[in-house]
Symmetry: C2
């Protein structure tokens, strides 16, 4: 490892991970030269806000931008947008940069490097996806292009391919814009991040808001109508009108640049990093969606690309690249989304994931309400707990309901981080007043119910 | 200690702690004779729901009752309402019971005893408090009497004495009924459960809803008008119209029965118990508002009477009294209330409490929003963290805002229970989506801000 003072920090990718790295490096070393390159046209914006920008809930694009290039410049952080890094030469400490408008290339020296190249949508291998009117929602430019297309061509029939976060959030936002929306999912399990039993209310919620649902279906071809724009799609079950198609079938880490330079990827396919975000190449760090993420429960690297993790890893990479010493504590697999009036979230491992990891577990599902049932507006809340058989170690939790999901998921995420067991949950001194919950929080009722099933020791004895 | 099988479990007090004990004892031993006595007229109801019953938000009294006497009877648990236990004779294993309607007394044998006599309001030493129209809100009968009085006499000017939970919640509920409400608080600090800086928005919220506030004032006398009913009160600052007076200045534990029988109280004045809820008297347990509560942070008993703790301790007392082995994990000092549109909560120790306990601490207060600021309906949320100087041990958190308070308090309560440090908070894998929070939860932003102040080590190194 280098032990000299960092001379020039370079960052590839100016979004969540990259700019968190830059800002943290600046905090640590106020004199360090810091430069960031990004092929896109905006730095440091909220990718998770894009569906709401398309839907018009966020009315001003600039509100999604956490810090502008000018604001970074004021901190002496130089951000070059529209600049793609095409090669890294670790031996010489150089990267090859191409200015996108002109195609001109030049070399830039670095001393320490943070790779934060993110992830990109995986296009399905289907003809017709190059037609106008077929979109992905990855970067800010995608959202703006989609918005522009909708305003200009006023499409009526949207087909969304994929029932994960982006697919669900875009279904809500396209309905908000008045489009007729159909969501196509390959299997029968929407939002597979939660177990099938917990995901069931999603289909009802989509239908309640007029979204047509094609489960166990997939798109075979997108077909051209007038003006070279998409007009319909063929699926396994027939033909559907579609003057707007959104592909939301998942992402993969952008690792080609790193791999070509000899930087190792892990078994997940993302860049392998240690707890200091160091790659196998001295002086080169990676963070965010392009890197692996240590999973506290699995005790091995996973790949779960999320903004929260990108921000955390970015800070740690930036601090260490600047000469500091910080370690990433790992993820526990937390995720949440809202679909119309329904909140759904998970943390830890789902039952399916736990089984896939060879963990022998028990689970319980509890139907409750988000606050005291005797007050008005108490909404149904379903909580599912997954616990390791015998040991009682908490493995995961999921929740779905109209309110109060994030609260329960976050309590559980904290419990998982701390390594609590099932027997600890009923002991938690959680806040109670009738407008907020019942005297035993549903999470505690679910835990107690599992404890009483006898697969796990009852009494805690702190 | 007894080591023979429990033969007859008796419970004094049939509310949260007592009936939790009864139910848990029944789960543990399906044949154990269980009998409970209560001087009141209802068992196992939600005391915390009483303000909402008075305010008409809860329209049906029966909805506050978790389980009726008949439902307990179906589980072979005998509940005698209107029966006051007037003496305990540990030497002979007897209690003296008085039937309240008739005044008739008789002895009842017990084998194991759970004392769950609760707490009662402390009346201020002020003349005129025996007038009709002066109320406390302690038991269900109080709420019904208050409701009846309001319906019958249609009072117009309510004076509430005391600015804790009950005072605040009743201010909201009396406003809801159309009364003109004035709240009198001895000092200038409403809801002293949180620090003064965090309690400030309460005064504005009261005023915004038309509640008159008399701070640094106290009632000297309640005065009679027509028909023997209260008509006005004299305070330090003058005379106020008051055809309804609610006293809400705090409670003290009901321990005379226990003390007379030789059962020891601790330094807090409540019944001393070990982690199994055992008193100093073999075979006699205590739980809930009449007992002390182990404080995980202070590492000593405290007295914080709350329904959540009563339920927890009741279960543990019941299980152990029936022959089981369970321990209470202790409280961390969590509390929450809602005042009109404002939520306010705390957990751990407030800065004032930490100082009183001799803990050298630092604090930070952060003004943020409950979810992504670029979405509509993002409401201000203020979070305060208190951390032990040097060690970085979490000491307490407080939050106030229009939404999302309970969520943050519960995360922090879980972190306190688990003994996490300040450096752990930014590492927590909390749920994020724009409708729920920002990519860094305000709680994490506050923690990071404190870490950066340098009083505490930055990087966690799990």
């Amino acid at each position: 490892m280098h032990d000299t003072k960092t001379k020039r920090l370079m960052i590839i990718g100016a979004d969540a991970a990259g700019m968190s790295a830059a800002a943290e490096a600046r905090r640590f070393d106020k004199d360090l030269p810091i430069v960031a390159f990004d092929r896109g046209g905006a730095a440091s914006y909220s990718q998770c806000g894009l569906p709401y920008l398309v839907g018009g809930v966020v009315t001003d694009t600039s509100r999604l931008i956490a810090r502008t290039v000018e604001q970074f410049a004021a901190q002496d952080i130089t951000v070059h947008l529209g600049h793609e890094v095409t090669a890294i030469d670790p031996a010489r400490g150089l990267v090859r940069v191409r200015e996108l408008p002109t195609g001109m290339g030049h070399d830039e020296p670095y001393d320490r490097l943070v790779i934060a190249t993110g992830a990109s949508p995986v296009p399905p291998a289907v003809p017709g996806l190059d037609l106008e009117g077929v979109f992905v929602l990855d970067v800010l430019e995608d959202a703006i292009a989609l918005q522009t297309y909708i305003r200009r061509h006023r499409p009526r029939h949207a087909v969304i391919v994929g029932g994960g976060y982006i697919g669900l959030e875009m279904a809500e936002n396209l309905v908000r814009l008045g489009l007729s929306v159909r969501l196509i999912q390959r299997g029968e399990h929407l939002f597979p991040s939660v177990d099938f039993d917990m995901a069931m209310p999603l289909a009802q919620e989509l239908e309640r808001h007029g979204v047509d649902l094609s489960l166990c279906d997939s798109v075979l071809e997108a077909c051209e109508g007038a003006h070279g724009r998409v007009a319909h799609v063929h699926t396994n079950t027939g033909e559907l009108p579609a003057d707007l198609v959104l592909l939301a079938i998942g992402v993969s880490p952008n690792v080609v640049l790193a791999q070509t330079a000899g930087i190792a990827c892990g078994p997940t396919g993302a860049i392998a990093v240690d707890d200091h975000q160091r790659t196998n190449m001295p002086g080169i760090f990676a963070a965010g969606d392009c890197a692996e993420h240590w999973h506290r429960l699995l005790r091995r690297p996973a790949w779960v690309p999320l903004g929260t993790t990108a921000n955390k890893q970015g800070r740690i990479a930036g601090r260490n690249a600047a000469g500091g010493d910080a370690a990433f504590g790992g993820i526990v697999g937390t995720a949440i989304t809202r679909l119309f009036d329904l909140e759904i979230g998970r943390t830890g491992l789902s039952e399916r994931e736990a089984q896939a990891a060879g963990i022998v577990c028990v689970s319980t599902t509890l139907d409750s309400t988000d606050h005291a049932g005797y007050l008005p507006d108490a909404h149904p809340l379903t909580v599912k707990l997954v616990v390791e058989m015998g040991s009682g170690r908490l493995i995961g939790a999921q929740a779905v309901g109209r309110a109060g999901v994030a609260k329960r998921i976050d309590v559980f995420a904290t419990a998982l981080y701390a390594g609590l067991t099932l027997a600890d949950l009923p002991q938690l001194d959680l806040a109670y007043a009738p407008p907020f919950n019942s005297v035993w929080d549903p999470l505690q009722v679910a835990a107690t119910s599992l404890l009483r099933q006898g697969a796990i020791r009852w009494g805690p004895n702190q």
